[in-house]
Amino acid sequence: MSPAEEVRAAFAEAGVRGWLHAVAIGGSREVDVDADEPVVMASVYKLPLLVAFVRLVDEGGIDPTEPVELPVAGRTPGPTGLSVLRDPVTLSWRDLAALTITVSDNAAADVLLRRVGLERVNALLAELGLTGTRVVGGTEDILRDLRGQVGAPDVRAAFAALARDDAVPDVAAYDPALTSATTARDMTALLAGVWQDTVASPAGCAFARELLGAQVWPHRLRAGFPYREATVAGKTGTIGAIRNEVGVVSFAGERPVAVAVFTRAARADPVLPRADAVIGTAARLAVTPLRSGRL
C-alpha cells in the first residue's frame, strides 16, 4: 500500500472520515489524502490569527507588551485559559497569543481576533495565496450560531445535542461552506512559511514556532511520535465530531515535515480516544516516508 492508502485505511479503522497533507519543509515530496477538499477548521483558525498578529507586530501596528484589561463579562466560554477564570485579569497582547495557542483559550483568542481584525486575517491568507482558507469569525460567533441551529439555551446544551448517536446533526459548524474552512494543503503551506521565516519577520516567526511548540495536548499529533528524538509543534481544533491538528514534526538533524490532519468521526460521542489517536497514527504513516534522514 502507498502511504496515502495506509492513511485512508487507518482513518476507516478508527471510524472517521479524514483529510491529510504532509510535505517535507523545503522539499517537494508529499502525501495527499483529499488535501484540496474544503474542511472545517475549528480552533485551527487560531494559527492564521497568530500569524496575522505577529505580522501586525512587525508592522508596528500593535505593541505586544501593552497591558490589556479583561473583565469577566463577555468572555467566550471554553474549557481552558481565561474562559474558566472567575476574576478580571490584565495581561499583554503577546500573552493573550500565548494562551490562544498553547491551551487553545477561546476567550483570549476572541479578544485577540477583535484587536487584529478579521479583515487583516483574511487579507494575509489572500496575500499568501491560501485561497482555500477563509476565516468567518471567532469561537464566539460559531457558538452563537450553533446554539441557534440546535435550539439550545446555552453552549453546554448545544454540545449535548451534537453528542447524540441517535440523530444526525446538520449544523453550519460541520459545513466548510458555512464556517471557517481551509484545506490540508493550505495549512501545511502556512506552517512551512512559519518555519522558513517567509510569512513574517524572523523574530515573529520564531515567536510563533515557540508558541506552537509549547502547545500542551499530547493526544493527537504528538501521540503518533512518542520518541524523545522528535519534537512536535502544532495547533488542534475540535468541535463536536470534528477533531483536527496541524503541525510540524522535527527530528534532530533532519528536515522538518509539516503535516495537517482533519477528521470527522462517525460517532457523535464527545470522548473518542481512537479518533484522537488516529490523527497521530495517520501523521506518522505520512511523515515517516518523507523524513530526510540526517542531513
Partner: protein, 288 residues
C-alpha cells in the same frame, strides 16, 4: 467528476432556494452538498449560485443552465429505466446481517412494491458502503454510526435488542437483570471491521454500564445463538423471534440497540426510502 450527481445537487438547491432544505431533499448532509456545488462550479468554470445569509439565488448563468441540467437528469432517469428493462435485474438492495431475517424479507417486499424486481445482498456495513460508493448497490440498510463520506442517508432508526443468555447463568433467574450481571460471560459480536464505529459504540455502552466486554466473534444471529446455547457467551439480537433450547431472552434497560440508516449514492426515490423505513419499523415477525 460524476456530472449527473452534481447536476442533481444544483437542481435541488436551485429549486429549494436553500442549502439545508436541498440537503434534506437529497438525503445528504450539508457539507458534501456545498462541496459538490463548488466542485461543479469549478468544473464548469462558472458561478451558478449566489449564497447569502437568507438563502441562495441563481446567477444569470445558473438560470440559463438550470433547464439543461433538468433535461440531462430526466434523460438519465429514462436511460436507467430502459436499461433495467433490458438487464432484467431490478433494484439492488443491501442489508446488514444483524437485521432479522423477517425484517430483511419485509425490506425486500417493500422495495419490490415500489421499484419492481429486487435483488437482495446481505453483507457487513463496511462492504455495503463500499458497494454503494462503487455503484454495485442502489440502496442499503447499514449500521449507524458509520463513515458514509459522500453517500446520502436517511435518519437513524433505532431497533431495540433483547439479550440472549445461557439458561444456566444467574442473570437468567433475576427479576430485573442488568448488563453488569452478565459479567463473566463473553459477548458475542460481529468482527469489529464489519462496522468499526458502531462496534465501538456497543462495547462502550456495555463498559459504561459496568460490564467489561470480552468479545467472541459471531458474524450473525445464527452464530451468536450457537455460542449462547453452548453456555459461552451473551448476545444482543434485534430479532424478536430468535430462540433456542438452553437460551433465555432478557429485556435489559440500557442494552445497546441496533441503529440503522438507509443509505444510497445516486439520489434515491423518496417513496422507496419511505417504504424501507416503514419496513424497518414493522415489528419483525409480524405477518402483514
Amino acid at each position: 467528476m460524476d456530472l449527473l450527481r452534481h447536476l442533481d445537487f444544483f437542481v435541488a438547491v436551485a429549486e429549494e432556494g436553500h442549502f439545508g432544505r436541498a440537503a434534506g431533499r437529497l438525503g445528504i448532509a450539508q457539507p458534501p452538498l456545498s462541496q459538490g456545488i463548488k466542485r461543479l462550479e469549478h468544473e464548469l468554470d462558472v458561478v451558478l449560485l449566489l449564497r447569502n445569509s437568507r438563502g441562495v439565488r441563481l446567477t444569470p448563468a445558473g438560470a440559463d443552465l438550470l433547464p439543461r441540467a433538468r433535461g440531462l437528469l430526466a434523460d438519465a432517469a429514462a436511460l436507467r429505466d430502459a436499461a433495467r428493462g433490458h438487464a432484467g435485474t431490478g433494484l439492488r438492495l443491501g442489508v446488514e446481517p444483524l437485521v432479522s431475517a423477517a425484517t430483511t424479507a419485509a425490506l425486500a417486499v417493500a422495495a419490490g412494491d415500489v421499484g419492481g424486481p429486487v435483488e437482495v445482498t446481505t453483507a457487513p456495513t463496511t462492504r455495503l458502503v463500499d458497494a454503494l460508493a462503487d455503484g454495485r448497490l442502489d440502496v442499503a440498510v447499514v449500521r449507524h454510526p458509520a463513515v458514509l463520506a459522500a453517500l446520502g442517508a436517511g435518519p437513524v432508526a433505532t431497533v431495540a435488542t433483547a439479550v440472549l443468555v445461557p439458561a444456566a447463568h444467574p442473570a437468567a433467574a433475576v427479576a430485573r437483570p442488568t448488563l453488569r450481571m452478565l459479567m463473566g460471560l463473553d459477548v458475542a459480536l460481529p468482527p469489529r471491521e464489519h462496522a468499526p464505529a458502531a462496534h465501538d459504540l456497543v462495547v462502550d455502552t456495555c463498559e459504561a454500564a459496568g460490564l467489561p466486554v470480552r468479545v467472541v466473534q459471531a458474524a450473525d444471529d445464527r452464530a451468536a445463538l450457537t455460542l449462547v446455547a453452548a453456555g459461552r457467551a451473551a448476545a444482543f439480537t434485534a430479532d424478536p423471534t430468535l430462540a433456542a433450547p438452553r437460551v433465555v431472552r432478557l429485556d435489559i434497560t440500557g442494552a445497546p440497540p441496533l441503529r440503522l440508516r438507509v443509505a444510497w449514492r445516486d439520489p434515491a426515490d423518496p417513496r422507496l426510502v419511505a417504504a424501507l423505513y416503514a419496513a424497518l419499523e414493522l415489528p419483525a415477525g409480524a405477518a402483514s
